[in-house]
């Protein structure tokens, strides 16, 4: 395995320890049960937590901090955190102002958050994120997956909470943001869970998977790797077909690296996507290019579009100070 690892079973703990040590000014790691919270909490603020399987760094722990999450609950690699972890994080950061859980649409995550919230006795709400249109048609199983769009939902809801909005208002922002966001990804290769036998996705050299999920779930189409412009054209087409943005919708264009693809290539994708949107008369009002929702070392990328509804642009521009995303302060 081409990885820097000691005992694979310790990978998440060791990595989080390094992460927390490096960013001790911003975050604090609690090891048992495992969660990451802000170094300084704001009293009376709506708290926001998220969590899920590890292996998607900086999501979620790297997005803890001012203007975004109050706590993150990292499970094992690609595996949900336990109820105990979620409950401990909820109790650590969720006060009478209420707690908002942002949950990616995976059954493990949903089950564990659901059970934890059944045991949590302060005000709380949950919003499910399901932005991935990648498997459209082929997925008779679990609905849309939650992928890179999670960052957008966390940012917008996080900004609202930082401004002092209440639980219901923050939940509403999160719901609207989730509903206004679509993502589709493409992989040029697989990724390998340290404890598993094989790569999560088996692509022959020179093949790509259009619509890939962030755990290597199959997408909509496998094909020989095409020129970047053709790939991006297909992704942009799919996004537009899915939720028909109009020229009046200011768009957020977010190109996310999946872990093994360097910035040179994600900027090539961004350039093509921005040109193609402009050519269709659509307006890119905000941009983000970064590997924020990765799949271990997978070579690949995803494109996320969000229709920036009323108020979203300001919330987006609000300061954010986290290890993984930082601006305006």
């Amino acid at each position: 395995m081409r990885k820097f690892l000691n005992n694979p079973a310790d990978a998440v703990d060791e990595s989080l320890r390094g992460f927390a040590r490096c960013h001790a000014d911003l975050v604090e790691l609690v090891e048992r049960p495992r969660y990451v919270k802000r170094q300084r909490l704001t009293q009376g603020k709506t708290a926001i937590i998220s969590g899920g399987g590890s292996g998607h760094d900086p999501l979620h722990a790297g997005l803890v901090g001012r203007g975004m999450l109050d706590a993150a609950v990292p499970g094992e690699i690609f595996s949900s955190p336990s109820v105990e972890q979620i409950l401990a994080a909820a109790e650590a950061v969720g006060g009478e102002a209420g707690l908002l859980c942002l949950i990616k649409n995976y059954s493990g995550d949903i089950m564990n958050f659901e059970l934890a919230m059944e045991m949590f006795d302060r005000p709380h709400a949950s919003v499910i994120i399901e932005d991935d249109i990648g498997a459209a048609g082929g997925d008779d199983t679990v609905g849309r997956r939650g992928v890179a769009g999670t960052v957008v939902v966390e940012k917008l809801a996080g900004a609202a909470a930082e401004r002092g909005e209440g639980l219901e208002a923050c939940a509403e922002i999160a719901r609207r943001a989730a509903a206004a966001t679509r993502t589709i990804g493409v992989a040029l290769g697989g990724c390998q869970v340290p404890s598993a036998d094989k790569a999560n996705l088996e692509l022959a050299p020179g093949e790509m998977e259009i619509g890939i999920g962030i755990h290597g779930e199959p997408g909509r189409r496998r094909a020989p790797i095409a020129p970047a412009n053709e790939i991006v054209e297909e992704l942009i087409e799919a996004l537009i077909a899915d939720f028909s943005p109009s020229p009046d919708d200011p768009l957020l264009l977010f190109v996310n690296g999946l872990g093994g693809t360097p910035p040179m290539e994600t900027y090539i994708i961004y350039d093509a996507a921005a040109r193609m949107l402009a050519a269709r008369g659509l307006t890119v009002a905000r941009s983000l290019v970064a590997p924020l929702v990765t799949s271990l070392e997978m070579p690949g990328a995803s494109i996320t579009l969000t229709k920036m509804e009323d108020g979203f642009l300001d919330l987006w521009d609000d300061p954010v100070v986290t290890p993984g995303l930082r601006w305006g302060a």
Binding site: I110, M111, N112, V142, A196, D197, E202, H215
Partner: protein, 220 residues
């Protein structure tokens, strides 16, 4: 003196005592199956199903003294809560829900019919919690037919009922192998899951078999 069957005594303490023996049996079994279950999960999942159930077993063993103080229903509920709390992933909430829902359904002095009904309630809970159904290539492919068989035969002879439950579990397991996973991590590998044993179905089969053995022995 043979061990008491869970369904035979009218003395709650003895019931719990036998239940704790069954708990020990199941924990030992699952700890011993850790590598096998991890191996199955490595092929189509993330290789931790055995580890997850070993963690569940260890936390249940720690809980043993506390469970001994409780009534049957309370003890099973409490055990389920412990699994839910500590395991994470998919199998934690599912096996935990199975136990919690069973515990809630159990009367203070359960007879065979009560156990069958409780099992059915637990399996319902799993399907609800997992938003899943038999045929999704999960533990439900074993649990659901086993529970149905037990309910159908619950009024008959206990030996027959247990034999029917075990046979249904085995059939369900065999059928499941040929399916494509639609829930859980194995769904990520899509078609590649066909032909592989689902780790949760395997652990469910092991548990159902052990329960049948235990109760059959005590009965005979």
């Amino acid at each position: 003196m043979g061990r008491m069957s869970l369904a035979q005594s009218h003395n709650p303490a003895e019931n719990t005592g036998a239940a704790l023996e069954l708990l020990d049996v199941l924990c030992t079994l699952l700890l011993g199956a850790e590598d096998e279950l991890n191996g199955l999960d490595r092929a189509i999942g993330d290789g931790d199903h055995g580890g997850n159930l070993a963690r569940a077993s260890r936390s249940l063993s720690e809980l043993r003294p506390e469970l001994a103080e409780l009534s049957m229903g309370e003890a099973v509920t409490r055990a389920g809560r412990a699994v839910v709390m500590s395991v994470g992933g998919a199998s934690g909430p599912l096996y935990g829900t199975l136990l919690m829902e069973m515990g809630k359904a159990l009367p203070d002095e359960p007879g065979p019919g009560d156990w069958a009904a409780a099992f059915a309630a637990g399996v319902d809970g799993v399907a609800r919690r997992g938003r899943s159904a038999e045929g999704d290539k999960t533990m439900l492919d074993v649990l659901a037919p086993a529970s149905r068989a037990l309910s159908e035969e619950a009024s008959a002879d206990l030996h027959e009922a247990l034999a029917a439950m075990r046979a249904a579990a085995e059939d369900g397991f065999e059928t499941s192998r040929g399916l494509r996973a639609k829930r859980g991590r194995a769904a990520y590998v899509g078609e590649r899951s066909v032909g592989h044993d689902d780790p949760g179905a395997r652990s469910a089969l092991l548990c159902v078999g052990a329960v049948a053995d235990f109760l059959g022995e005590n009965k005979g």
